[in-house]
Symmetry: C3
Subunit: 344 residues, 3 copies
């Protein structure tokens, strides 16, 4: 069961050049392509003639041409050419999905096309801000996007899963001062670890020598995106009191797009807010961040295997689940709303 | 659902030497072997004692010996030896399948053995004609044999799928002059492309320099074989008017034998009718032909994946499907006949 | 369907050091670990918090710590620590399985813990006897443990499956003099091959030059273990009459522990009773024995595939199945007893 009337990240804009790109979103086979003018579109990746994936074809004038018998489909999924045949049947079309290119992403809408309002696309406009240059990547995760969002909603895992990267002393993560608040689009929480030892990645990237005041600022944008703003300064230099200027700070955007019920694509971008002109610094930090997300992937994939086999009825909530549980409640409400609207 | 009362190609005769050969035909596990006299037989590939594949065993006097406890089965599937036991129970036998070696093939009959008339084996006797030396091969296809026959019944695909081999300008394939006629055993069609550019493979194999008159002559021998006779001559040298002598010509026999509902074995032979004494020419052309069939394989396997997931109800027929549809109707009639006979 | 109220070999004791070890037993996901004192325990390999395999975690004071959010479980499966939380809910626990370290094995009990009497563990105490030094290994078998026990109950397979190792002339195995008797724990049979040619492994290991008097002494310890004592002496030197002293002799312990309905772990140990101080002799013989068991694995895995596809109703028993059938009857009785007790 997926929320459908929402914008999902389907791809990085730079993944789509002059070849079609196949991707599964909410268990539908989608192909994206740019027409000759460069405009991106998304349609079902199966020719209505004989079912061949259109992603095996090529881009021609007028749209995407099936590589089997040469039918051409435009970005609305309408067949516009059948070789050797003048009349094109009304039924010759494939489903199309609204697709918007914005902030380095291609955003796709898997629900009712008439509801697809681009104003509801999550704001990642800092990707266009030269003060926040970004590097990005993608990981295929053999686990539900829900488990990946769970992961981001309970950061007590950082000390255990990421000890070699952004973790460190588990106790500091467990004891962080945390405030959570609902937002229109989901949840917002902030965590502070005052006068705490800097984790390995922070030392490598910024050169901290002593204790730091460190914050984690997370916005869950329901159902599947998280906008993160982290930072750290030398302990006692005023960050907690409100002066976050200077020091080490970065943003991460996490887009966890459902592929199937038990797999997702993890799109992530790391933005350098501490040394915007230092490409090498961003490269290093991006590599460390990616390694961090691979650590999450390994845990979540093994977790998924257990939950797929044993269900979830036997699981026991603990105190650190509080935000995760609020997230799941919000999301179940979204699903209920969709079901109710669909039934009307 | 497979047509059972028909002859399928089970193997190339030269695939079967002094070792048993396992192959799945119409979703049955079959083992073929030659007895000490060289006569080939086909029986179920599972010992009636403990289920072990007989293909793990070895050929002994009297038949095929199971490699587990030594029981021996003859070519009729009858157990003829049980180690340490004099009396052989009546029930000690495995299913046997009529098998005929002819024209370089081993033909198998998966239906009622009493109906297995070798006179109904498709005629590929030109394989024994020194004017048509052949090279042959096999490809495992992760797609239904029906999709492969479909492929051969709609040659408008040639311009798209085979542009690097026997294709070329798509329009010439779409606009070919085509005549189709039913036969007792299936369908026969001929296509002509007059004064057309020679495709890459024809240029490599024969050295055409200008436009050619090219023909494709296809006989579908229901349910699963296609006998093809293609050729080309310099444009305007009389081929279309009936003089096919000289020039470039070749025959291909395509046997698409069902393995499971969604896979098949593709046996193909290319026969050199333009330079029968030139082995190197045949080698080159065989390699190009095999490459052509790999191109088909890649399309069909991806098509199968889509049809397995989404069914076929949403597919839309186009004009070029006409022959394919006739083929499917003929085949459905065969299946209906079998069902009716089975119910009597 | 597995017998649960019995001791299975879960691992070799030396497989378990300072890391947790994951293994599937009777289709349950188990993790074994040694606490800081070295005592081994077995609990369910899925954290009761979010389902993550505990085998991804690490051993800490107090037990095994989940690698995701840091919960710690003791050897009884009880959660003894939740980071950041003082009160531990009663429900925070995972199933635990009695585990006993003995005779180089870790023995696990998958049934009612209250019935787990270590006195019922099969006696392999010769593993502690310097006159019987042993080498051991493990093979993952993609076949039911039942098929592997079947294999050991019908040694007429030895001449066919193991011709390159411990087999040789099939007839001698088929014609062996065999006596079988029930025991309290299963079945016991002895086979003699008098004045028979020594098989390749025996020649390599001991240097036999002429005919031998060879015996096979097998005890099936229901449901899943076999204790074997084999030997050979030069023909006519009195072994059959009762003097087994001297000559070539060895013991093998076979533990076939169910993993799933169609797979098992094969633990085997070969003990050198002919030259206890000769490590090289044991190494050679162990390698040959392992090769023998790989031969069984190859047969049984292919057999399993056929039985999984075609069922077993069509199978035909032969004379050499007699002991195998007794074994299966005994085992079905055990299963019936368990079912009856469970229903009470």
């Amino acid at each position: 069961m997926f929320v459908r009337n929402t914008w999902y990240v389907a791809a990085w804009a730079d993944e789509l050049a002059d070849k079609p790109l196949a991707r599964r979103v909410c268990d539908e086979a989608v192909v994206m392509f740019r027409d000759k003018s460069g405009k991106a579109a998304a349609i079902a990746d199966r020719c209505c003639h004989r079912g061949t994936p259109l992603s095996l074809g090529e881009i021609v004038d007028g749209g995407l041409q099936c590589g089997y018998h040469g039918m051409v489909f435009d970005g609305m999924g309408k067949c516009v050419h059948i070789p050797g045949q003048e009349k094109i049947p009304q039924s010759a079309s494939v489903p199309a999905y609204p697709l918007v290119e914005r902030d380095h992403f291609l955003w796709i809408w898997m629900g009712e096309a008439t509801n697809a309002d681009p104003a509801r696309i999550p704001d990642v406009s800092y990707h266009n801000d030269p003060r926040w240059p970004e590097r990005h990547g993608r990981l295929a995760i053999a686990g539900s996007y829900l488990l990946m969002i769970d992961n981001l909603m309970d950061l007590t895992h950082v000390g255990y899963v990421h000890r070699r990267t952004v973790g460190g002393n588990p106790a500091q993560h467990v004891d962080a001062r945390m405030t959570v608040a609902p937002t229109q689009d989901g949840l917002h929480f902030t965590r502070w670890m005052l006068n705490s030892p800097p984790p390995p990645t922070y030392v490598k990237a910024y050169g901290f020598k002593g204790g730091i005041d460190r914050w984690q600022d997370f916005e869950w944008l329901a159902p599947s995106n998280v906008r993160q703003w982290n930072g750290a300064k030398d302990a006692g230099t005023g960050a907690y009191e409100g002066n976050r200027e200077g020091g080490f700070q970065f943003r991460v955007f996490h887009a966890l797009t459902p592929e199937t019920e038990t797999s997702c694509n993890y799109f992530f971008a790391t933005a350098n807010g501490w040394a915007p002109h230092d490409d090498a610094a961003l490269d290093l930090f991006f590599r460390e961040s990616r390694e961090t997300f691979v650590e999450d992937k390994e845990i979540v994939e093994r977790q998924q295997a257990r939950l797929s086999e044993f269900g979830e009825d036997w699981l026991v909530d603990i105190v650190s689940d509080a935000t995760r549980i609020r997230m799941r409640r919000f999301l179940n409400q979204m699903l209920d709303n969709e079901r109710r609207l669909a039934a009307e």
